[in-house]
């Protein structure tokens, strides 16, 4: 990793320079003479004028200011930062696949559609659901589709009062935000000291207004919801449906299926469990799976098969569909990468993923406990991730979870998720994934131990971390108050960009 500050690309720009070999031939002024003057642009946009080499060098240098899975251990809890196999990328980028227009006729696309159809089938198999639609473009959009289907289902039965979505207090922020986007009201239920949903509170919360419950299992607390069947019975008995947030599917892949636990609808984060790249924050893909009673409401388009031919299923075929969530079919290239990954894992590989992810997490839990850290749920098995709480260290040493996180960066390790779930004070949510070796885990434990020692002896080294990154801790308050969201060519926003 580089620590050299790279100036904004606009500061390399020189009028009249450009990567001309990449441009088309100049068609001449006559090419656009038919465009009316009133509808034309008059001032050029602020785009850099640089050579190809200058651009390549600039963006390569920027890349070197990042941590990534390819370069660093990245135990970001709840995000499943596993290795992204290179073949998944190169095979999804075969020229024919890249060139295919989304509105091409079905006759030109039987190869692509076969992959999509088989992906739907494999996702049905691993989730235990009856039907799968691939189009949601991220986990949050999958959640949206799921809750929208639950609403559509109740509405189709004339059950118009059901607008409450129950979420455990430890839920991801997207769950309540999704419920609101679907026009629902959120009701939170507490979690008991062992990390399971408080069944009595749940029983008190459900009723004739219950549309459904959104659950992650294993939960965001890194433990399996042991009374899931009772949760399902309670919600179903009240007339509600169960939504499964697939964020933690990596923990149970090939071991237990959401469909068998009683869930009616799920989304799967392909960018987590099925190893498509996170890309600096997207693209993801959030296919949804449903039980038979929700199948009529799935988002379109889907891929069907008529005889030997694959075809699109649209509003005409699924008239009660909640509709289209995107311009075309969603993140096809992400779906292809997940398809390739799943074919490489195969039947045997699916369970190996969850086994080794769980082994790695429990090993880290054991070793961190030995090193003097406090497990949030010491009497529980870890799933594919674990939580340690640093409340004691924060009180005794004045060093917070955020300080540990930042100091880990100096050790060349990406920080775990901090301060989530909100239930556990000063927590680190750590997810090593199955693709990390024992040596990488040992190095992490060693780094944590070293930081703990340092926190006692020289706490300001920890509270002042990071020290070896391109920048030190940033002023977030200034960022939000003195908004600087675009580069300006003048000296008006004169923050020095080099030092």
């Amino acid at each position: 990793m580089s620590t050299r500050i790279e100036k904004p690309i606009f500061e390399y720009s020189v009028p009249g320079r450009g990567a001309e070999d990449q441009w088309p031939r100049d068609p001449g002024a006559a090419a656009t003479e038919d465009l009316p003057a009133a509808l034309r642009r008059t001032a050029r946009p602020l785009l850099p004028e640089v050579s190809e080499l200058e651009a390549v060098r600039h963006f390569t240098r920027l890349s070197q200011l990042n941590f990534s899975i390819d370069t660093h251990f990245y135990p970001l809890g709840s995000c499943t930062m596993k290795y992204n196999p290179k073949a998944c990328n190169s095979l999804a980028m075969l020229p024919e696949l890249l060139a295919r227009h989304p509105l091409s006729p079905e006759s030109v696309g039987q190869g692509f559609l076969a992959c999509m159809y088989e992906l739907q089938e494999m996702l049905k198999a691993v989730t235990g659901m009856q039907a799968v639609a691939l189009s949601p473009m991220a986990g949050a959009q999958g959640e949206f589709a799921g809750v929208a289907m639950i609403r559509a289902y109740h509405r189709s039965r004339g059950d118009l009062e059901r607008n409450e979505i129950i979420v455990p207090e430890a839920a991801h922020g997207t769950n309540p935000a999704t419920a609101t986007m679907c026009g629902c009201v959120v009701r939170e239920v507490p979690v008991n000291a062992e990390g399971d949903v408080d069944i009595d509170a749940l029983k008190a919360a459900v009723g004739p207004k219950t549309a459904g419950i959104m659950l992650t299992n294993p939960s965001t607390l890194g433990v399996f919801e042991r009374r899931i069947e009772e949760v399902a019975r309670t919600v179903h008995a009240a007339g509600g449906l169960l939504y499964y947030d697939g964020a933690n599917l990596n923990a149970i892949l090939g071991k237990v299926r959401p469909g068998d636990m009683g869930f009616d609808v799920i989304h799967v984060n392909l960018h987590k469990t099925f190893s498509t790249p996170h890309g600096g924050g997207g693209p993801g893909a959030g296919p949804v799976g449903v039980s038979a009673r929700l199948a009529p409401f799935l988002p379109v388009p889907m891929v069907g098969r008529r005889g030997e031919r694959y075809c699109w299923l649209t509003e005409r075929d699924i008239p009660q569909s909640i509709g289209r969530l995107s311009g075309f079919m969603g993140n096809a290239g992400v779906l292809l990468r997940a398809y390739i990954y799943m074919r490489m894992l195969g039947r045997e590989g699916m369970a190996k993923v969850s086994e080794y992810a769980t082994l790695n997490a429990n090993y880290l839990l054991a070793q961190l406990t030995r090193a003097g850290f406090d497990a949030a749920y010491p009497d529980r098995r870890a799933t594919h991730e674990l939580i340690i709480g640093l409340k004691r260290q924060a009180k005794e040493l004045g060093v917070t979870a955020m300080d540990f996180a930042k100091r880990l960066l100096d050790h060349g390790m990406h920080a775990p998720t901090t301060y989530f779930p909100l239930l556990v004070p000063e927590c680190l949510l750590i997810e090593p994934t199955e693709t990390e070796s024992k040596a990488a885990l040992d190095a992490f434990v060693a780094a944590m131990s070293e930081i703990l020692t340092e926190a006692a002896q020289e706490p300001e080294r920890v509270t002042g971390a990071p020290h070896t990154m391109p920048v030190r801790r940033l002023d977030d308050v200034r960022a939000a108050k003195q908004l600087d969201l675009t580069w300006k060519p003048t000296g008006a926003h004169a923050i020095p960009t080099t030092s």
Partner: protein, 461 residues
């Protein structure tokens, strides 16, 4: 298999450290009756070589036909450097830049992207992207409801010249929150919205007006008159634009004829033309820019420049109080990720193009479309459908039903355009065609020749 590095010795040492006998024991909290015994429905594993061969066969099946469809996704040349950079592991395999100090590369790139998109659309601020153009329009409608505090109706006027899939996606994304989408009919001779037709809404409470430029038919709307009408009535203007077109067309920030009160409020669109391959529809990215006064109503990530404790400039996610991980049920959207990797590609693309290169792409694409429409119009049984200016896409009428003709063309390796019959049956047999800078005169002649043959065959049949 499964990309797992553990040796048998590793596993044994780890199990001993945990204090269990087997990996299986780690799953003992899962009720036994729920445990899966076998995973039917997933085929056996393939090696890298085997999956490589399978994918090559699938790809070969689809081939590389000559494509003349646009309709929201455009085949432009993508410089080799674009994806060479975007697939570098440091960009490809990083996550959302929550740890700013270890993500300055992604953050600075997003800041540069925001600068480029704000300037291209001539708006004050840009977010760090949304999923795609269609869903971005839905988010823009929701944002307009939050931003237009003078309106209580949640009524959004959407011309039928807006991409039909965008209209459906907006309804699906925003419809659950009580938004009412009202369709504005278009003029079937002109293929665009007559500004005079808005008069019937005078005096009514309307939250926002959506204007797509160029519209779905490639026709140029009278954006100045439409924008003037809306701004005079406190109706927010949501522009849906093709980013390539903005190298030559008036950007949304300049729409309107009154200097003191001009410009759209929110601009959104499909970012795909900026260095993103067609790839059967995604992943693409939606862009969104807006007036500064609306910045706190924007959905999605936003990057800001600030200083670190040593006073050096650095970049961070900002205005996070809008977002789901802080605001939960009160967030501006449930959106979590953006389309970071595609934004990386687009930022490299825009840097290689610069203002002059992008203008050439726009002009060359437009010139090829004019050449295409001229060539097709010379074919017996083909005519231009609308009068008036277009940008790099146009609707043509055929004297025979479109679908069988397209099938015949596909059999000749040509994807002839998009059949408009499904979404616009009132137009009769009509086809939306597009060419970009990637097409040559020979390609166009090949298409025109094949179309003449196919129409002859259709008439003979």
């Amino acid at each position: 298999m499964a990309f797992i590095p553990h040796t048998r010795e590793d596993v044994e040492a780890m199990l001993a450290a945990i204090g269990v006998d087997s990996i299986e024991q780690l799953f003992d909290e899962i009720p036994a009756n729920l445990r899966l015994s076998a995973l039917a429905g997933v085929p056996e594993a393939l090696s890298e070589m085997e999956i490589g061969r399978l994918m090559a066969e699938r790809a070969r099946l689809d081939g590389r036909p000559l494509c003349f469809i646009g309709a929201g996704a455009y085949e432009h040349h993508i410089p080799a450097a674009v994806w060479a950079i975007a697939t570098r592991g440091e960009f490809y395999s990083a996550y959302t830049p929550y740890q700013a100090e270890a993500s300055q590369g992604t953050l600075q790139l997003l800041y540069e992207y925001q600068t480029m998109m704000a300037s291209l659309t001539d708006m004050a601020v840009s977010n760090a992207s949304l999923y795609d153009g269609a869903s971005a329009m839905g988010e823009a409608c929701l944002m307009a409801v939050r931003a237009n505090r003078k309106s209580r109706s949640r009524r959004i006027l959407v011309p039928t010249t807006v991409h039909p899939h965008y209209r459906r996606a907006a309804a699906a994304v925003a419809g659950n929150q009580g938004l009412v989408f009202e369709e504005l009919p278009y003029c079937t001779e002109e293929g665009c919205i007559p500004p005079g037709s808005l008069g019937r809404y005078d005096g009514q409470d309307i939250t926002a007006l959506v204007i797509q430029q160029p519209n779905f038919f490639g026709r140029l709307e009278d954006v100045d008159a439409l924008c003037d009408w809306a701004r005079a009535r406190n109706i927010l203007v949501i522009a849906v634009v093709n980013p390539t077109s903005l190298a030559v067309l008036k950007p949304p920030g300049q729409w309107g004829s009154q200097d003191a009160n001009k410009g759209a409020d929110i601009a959104v669109g499909e970012g795909q033309p900026l260095g993103v391959p067609l790839s059967s529809g995604g992943p693409y990215f939606g862009f969104m820019t807006a007036r500064m006064e609306h910045v706190r109503q924007m959905p999605g990530r936003i990057v800001g420049r600030t200083v670190d404790v040593a006073g050096r400039a650095g970049f961070t996610l900002t205005l996070q109080a809008r977002e789901q991980h802080i605001r939960r049920a009160k967030a501006t959207s449930n959106i979590c990720t953006n389309q970071g990797l595609l934004v990386t590609a687009a930022t490299v693309y825009l840097s290689l193009m610069g203002p002059a290169g992008l203008e050439r792409v726009a002009a060359a694409s437009h010139a090829r479309t004019r050449e295409l429409v001229a060539a097709l119009s010379r074919v017996a049984g083909v005519r231009r459908l609308f009068r008036g200016p277009v940008f790099h896409e146009e609707a043509i009428a055929l004297d025979r039903p479109v679908a069988p003709v397209l099938e015949k063309l596909a059999a000749r390796g040509i994807i002839g355009g998009l059949d408009l019959t499904e979404h616009y049956p009132e137009l009769g047999p009509a086809l939306l065609v597009c060419a970009t800078e990637t097409k040559t005169t020979a390609d166009i002649e090949r298409y025109a020749g094949a179309l003449a043959e196919c129409l002859r065959e259709a008439r003979a049949a």
